[in-house]
Symmetry: C2
Subunit: 478 residues, 2 copies
């Protein structure tokens, strides 16, 4: 057995070093691998299969809400990027520049898209002329590049995969509704597909997307108490339309500027899955995006009929879920550890005694619970158990978030929590940029969002003590 891979006890424990635990999981579960291009990664088959499931389900939600996919170029000419002032200021410092094509120097440099608002604007200008051409509800699945200094697989990479939705509407109201609608789609996806509770809210002006009038966000809390911005949706007003000269003829034959939105989620969601559900045995995958939902492990597989039964069950289950059976000559113990590491939601064990009793043992990855199931009932029990794992993961994450959410009524209290208790901090805010800057500088926390669900936890700003009517979530963030 010298050829067997090492067992999972190679993973650093979360409590010992959370960052190392994270990269251990990424490497050992074979999600991603480093490359010689700093900050860029290879997404390996198991990691990419998770992304494919995310894409398939989310894309279905986009199409069900009337969106169509398109594909824009990956390059943006410098002059095009420069058209919207705030936008270029936000992105120019972190773009990669193409200066040569073959052996020739380009007349104008091209940046590799960090985001595609400017390209969509150029296209809108070409195809939007009349109110009949509106709205356009577009999305694309591509990769973008941002020249980050510090990188970590899935969480922050120089190139990352994402979807970017871009829409254009006749009225401000319609565009605002779209912005909120897509935030709700994201929240729905995180909670009902990834089993990850999120807080929905609005970003402060300081944290807004470059060029946006309003940025909406969903914020999740990771195992270590740090926040992870998991999706954002931006309302642009008619600012981009004015900068790019996009106009349409309305029903009264009057030229009008249209209103725009954009919204995005990224492969960062895979990082969120790892840090929300993972444990010291490795990855724990929410069933709806798990590449393998059920792993069939034959027990005493040298005994007559065991491998055949495993194959038969696997074939049967392939009609209702994503199933794999491992019939390699590795030991059952090794297989248990391997698929725990890989976060497979359910393990189905089948051995000679089980076959005699017409049953099998199913073990839940989230709780370790063992359940004896009659082989006649698999078609009803497996979907129930997958849903139970989903619900269990969601409940556990929600309970953890509740435990790790604190309320601060004064600066000292906030400072103490920020120093000693990782998690979200709820506190009142007067609305001034000065207080926001001060809390970041002195307590090391950033404003996560002004949640839609407001709660009056006081009357005065936690920083300056002046009257305040906005409750904010603060925290340390990835």
């Amino acid at each position: 057995m010298a050829e067997q891979k090492k067992m999972v006890n190679d993973i650093t424990s979360m409590e010992e070093d959370f960052a190392k635990w994270y990269t251990d999981v990424v490497k050992k579960a074979e999600l991603a691998e480093y490359t010689s291009v700093k900050g860029c990664m290879v997404i390996r088959p198991y990691g990419y299969a998770i992304w494919e499931n995310i894409q398939r389900i989310m894309d279905g939600m986009f199409k069900a809400t009337g969106h169509e996919n398109v594909c824009m170029p990956m390059f943006i000419p410098e002059s095009l990027l420069n058209k919207e002032k705030e936008h270029v200021e936000g992105f120019a410092p972190e773009v990669a520049w193409v200066t040569h094509g073959g052996s020739e120097k380009l007349e104008e440099r091209l940046c590799v898209r960090p985001t595609s608002e400017t390209l969509f604007c150029e296209h809108y200008k070409a195809v939007v002329h009349s109110y009949r051409d509106l709205p356009k509800l577009y999305n694309q699945w591509v990769s973008v590049v941002r020249w980050e200094k510090t990188t970590r697989p899935f969480l922050r990479t120089r190139e990352f995969l994402w979807q970017e939705g871009h829409t254009i509407h006749a009225t401000a109201e319609e565009a605002q509704q779209e912005t909120v609608k897509m935030l709700n789609v994201y929240a729905d996806f995180c909670e009902n597909v990834l089993a990850m509770p999120v807080i929905k809210g609005i970003k402060t002006e300081k944290e807004r997307f470059a060029g946006a009038e309003e940025t909406y966000t969903i914020e999740a809390l990771m195992h270590d108490g740090k926040a992870l911005q998991s999706g954002t949706s931006h309302y642009f007003g008619d600012g981009f339309a004015k900068a790019f000269g996009i106009q349409y003829m309305d029903r009264n034959n009057t030229l009008q500027y249209p209103f725009q939105t954009s919204w995005g989620t990224t492969t960062r969601l895979i990082g969120a899955i790892i840090m929300t559900h993972g444990d010291n045995n490795g990855l724990v995958l929410p069933p709806k995006v798990a590449p393998i939902q059920v792993i069939v492990v034959p027990i005493a597989q040298h005994k007559e009929g065991v491998l055949e039964k495993a194959a038969e069950l696997s074939e049967r289950l392939s009609k209702i879920c994503r199933v794999k059976s491992d019939i390699t000559d590795n030991s059952a113990g090794w297989k248990f550890a391997e698929y725990e590491m890989k976060g497979v939601p359910l393990r189905l064990e089948i051995g000679p005694k089980d076959i005699e009793k017409n049953q099998c043992v199913i073990v839940r990855r989230d709780s370790g619970e063992k359940i004896f199931v009659s082989l006649d009932e698999l078609e009803t029990k497996i979907p129930e158990l997958l849903q139970a794992v989903h619900d269990g993961l969601y409940a556990k994450a929600l309970a953890r978030r509740s435990e790790m959410t604190y309320t601060a009524h004064s600066f000292d209290e906030l400072f103490d929590i920020a120093e000693n208790k990782p998690g979200f901090i709820k506190a009142m805010w007067c609305g001034s940029r000065e207080c926001e800057d001060a809390l970041k500088e002195k307590a090391g926390v950033t404003s996560r969002c002004i949640p839609f669900e407001q709660e009056k936890v006081g009357d005065t700003c936690v920083c300056c003590g002046k009257p305040a009517d906005k409750m904010l979530y603060w925290g340390k963030a990835y």
Copy 2:
């Protein structure tokens, strides 16, 4: 009706100007739009929906043959690209170079991948150690960049979407089998999904992929008699493994070099669809990749019950095909022209008289044939008719290719055909590079492939007259 779009008679006819006909179809069927980045295009919703169907079906074929999807970075450090000599010589002249990240000059330039052999090799080196790690059967769906001088939407663009399969095997034989297997998958896809007949064969050394020991190709014939290389599959031997130092321990504990392949198809297939099936009324789409397979057009839609019936039929048909009903206030004539232009395979007309007779009229896009179908039989008739359109398109394309395939026995005969009869030319070849170069220079034709299905059309080389035992397809190509 001033707001109505212009009718299809705007398209240049094929016979008048084939190149203009092509770009007219691309623009008017709303497949793609130009951008300010020379040679890069926006793929619009209707064009992208065709690509999504191609992806979904082809990806299923890759997975059914055991392949897994991954995602490599889009950047290749110059030193990595330089590792395999022939490969870099083939690609370096046409890559885009990133020289700056943000405001800093990079220590080493990065090229935007023109193809990813070098990145896969680097990754193989990291993950392949033992015979147990082989084979790796990978694919990725990404875009690549080649700094082409002359560009045309879908056919040749500086950035294009593609899939690139990359595999690594323990033995040369297994890698060679993979190369041919994937060529067969491509041919199967072109014929059974795109209704486009292809010739399978081997490229001459001159036309081989940079760094390959053997390149296999499928070649299709377009409406204007030009050939289109529609997919290629490369066998690399152990050349890349040696250049990159990839080795594995075999069963006898001996270090060995593994053997590699790669294979790719691109958005060029959309260009192939346009130029194989299109006509002077616009696009004609093979049913299996058509975004809309059936368009329901209500006739006399102001009459009672017509719109309701159209909606009911559309709802019913949505269970068995991709259907849309057009209930806008545009005239029926305008709608006919619009969906003809867009290449929708079947048009279903439903008016008051049809409703009375419990029937509808179905019109085939490929032949214009009108068929009366009882509303009770739609669920059996529609799939039959879609298959009939597929078969009709295939038969028509095959017949055209037969008509446009000529045989040349001497240089003069070949020269005459090349000058006057667009199409494939079958001719014997002695195997020398000199003759290949001479035919290109003097007759303007390139060798398309040495077909698997050989046919002895003579004994001597069409160029030099020396003994020859290989029959080649020659032609002018996109």
